[in-house]
């Protein structure tokens, strides 16, 4: 009897420790200091009532200029486990000043997915970006909505409204559920809310920020809806000649449904673009899946895969540090805005205060994250 009590006590202790770890990870609050350009913070539920109060009722940071112009939407956290996208959007929300037009920033488009990590993947629950004031911790998250929030998965996922057959698990993938369904799953309703936001706010350009494994052919590129092909091509040319890195352009395929670059462009008046930066952490041939790999992008196994010609992006012992990936996104966003504004003067969006690629690498991503301890309560939000 004593033996059973001891074993039960040890098991309970293990369950409590594991439960506390999962609970803290799921409820980790990420502070956001609204930057000088933020005039108000809306909620995704303001655009589609059924999302209100759910885990996916994300903040929408509205940055407005003094002069009227166009409207740009930045989507971070469509896939939270691709952190450069969230961090680039974070830098815009905390630093940008608008001269003309508006920028709407969603830092965590799929909040549910940000509260879980890859099941069985041994992912770290969070990561910290070093700053002069000590560092800011972020949830790592996953590609798919948390099964605690949306379950069960079907045998085959039928995309709405095309009924294209997709992998079962992608019914929880925000970037396979656009344009969304008002009476669908949590993920589909979230996509519908984003689509409604784009329609109601008359968004001109929607930019979805991602990262990709090096073994995936769509990498280091701008994926563009046909409406945005010229804009993306011009941005890629200017980036390659002026920003210090190269980026390609891919056409959004008609035959693959549910992705933001295809469905937002088809369902709304907005030009839809998706940006991909390289993230070795996601590669199947990676080594230990830890915070260091996430932030440095250094992995001997991925380098060896590259030497055998198995990758679609180069990698060496320098890896793909988070500052490089974030800087690629901020520079690409700025180039898109500048070209859009020059070609559409009446709908220009003119922004300052956002660092470019070289500045992010030189100073580090953390230099552009604001200290929540010194912010006034009225400017402090959390993700």
């Amino acid at each position: 009897m004593t033996r059973k009590i001891v074993i039960a006590a040890l098991g309970t202790a293990l369950a409590v420790l594991a439960g506390l770890s999962f609970y803290r990870s799921r409820h980790l609050r990420e502070p956001v200091v609204a930057g000088p350009g933020v005039s108000r913070v809306a909620k995704l539920g303001d655009y589609f009532g059924p999302i209100k109060g759910t885990v996916n009722d994300a903040n929408v940071y509205v940055l407005e200029g003094r002069e009227p112009g166009g409207t740009i939407l930045l989507l971070g956290g469509t896939h939270p486990e691709e952190p450069a996208g969230r961090l680039a959007a974070w830098i815009v929300a905390e630093n940008a000043e608008l001269v003309r037009g508006r920028i709407l920033v969603v830092l965590t488009a799929n909040r549910s997915a940000s509260t879980v990590t890859r099941l069985g993947g041994a992912y770290p629950p969070d990561f910290t970006i070093p700053t002069a004031w000590g560092g800011q911790k972020f949830r790592l998250g996953d590609r798919w909505s948390n099964p605690l929030d949306q379950w069960p998965d079907p045998e085959v996922y039928l995309h709405y409204p095309t009924r294209q057959e997709l992998a079962y698990v992608d019914i929880r993938n925000l970037n396979r559920a656009f344009p969304g369904r008002p009476n669908g799953t949590l993920t589909e309703r979230t996509c519908y809310a984003v689509t409604e936001l784009i329609r109601r706010e008359k968004v001109d350009v929607a930019i979805d920020l991602h990262e990709a494994e090096l073994q995936y052919p769509v990498i280091s590129t701008i994926v563009a809806h046909p409406k945005g092909a010229d804009l993306a091509a011009a941005a890629a040319m200017f980036i390659s000649s002026m920003e210090g890195f190269a980026i390609g352009v891919e056409n959004s395929p008609k035959a693959l449904r549910g992705l933001s670059h295809r469905e937002i462009g088809d369902a709304t008046d907005a030009v839809s673009l998706l940006l991909e930066a390289p993230e070795p952490f996601l590669d199947a041939t990676r080594g230990r899946t830890d915070r260091e790999l996430l932030l440095t992008g250094k992995d001997d196994f991925v380098v060896r895969a590259g030497k055998r010609g198995l990758l679609f992006e180069k990698i060496d012992e320098k890896g793909w540090p988070i500052d490089v990936r974030v800087g690629r996104h901020t520079s690409t966003i700025l180039q898109i805005l500048e070209i859009w504004s020059s070609e559409n003067p009446a709908k220009a969006v003119i922004v300052s205060g956002v660092p470019r690629y070289t500045e992010v690498i030189e100073k580090g991503t953390g230099a552009f994250l604001k200290d929540p301890k010194t912010a006034s309560a009225s400017r402090l939000f959390s993700e």
Binding site: R3, I7, A18, G19, F22
Partner: protein, 51 residues
């Protein structure tokens, strides 16, 4: 429909958790008792909606 399936899933999870506790009580071998406890943990975490 999804709500019904989800409720059935939680019912099954609870049922298996009870079976595991029952097995734990009935086992005579300490290694089998440890096995029951370890297998039980994910069921408990799911029932408590922690993972």
């Amino acid at each position: 429909m999804d709500t019904v399936v989800t409720l059935l899933y939680y019912f099954l999870t609870a049922y298996i958790a009870v079976l595991l506790v029952w097995n734990f009580v009935k086992r005579k071998n300490w290694q089998e008792e440890v096995l029951c406890v370890i297998v039980l943990i994910p069921f408990l975490l799911r029932l408590l909606r922690l993972k």
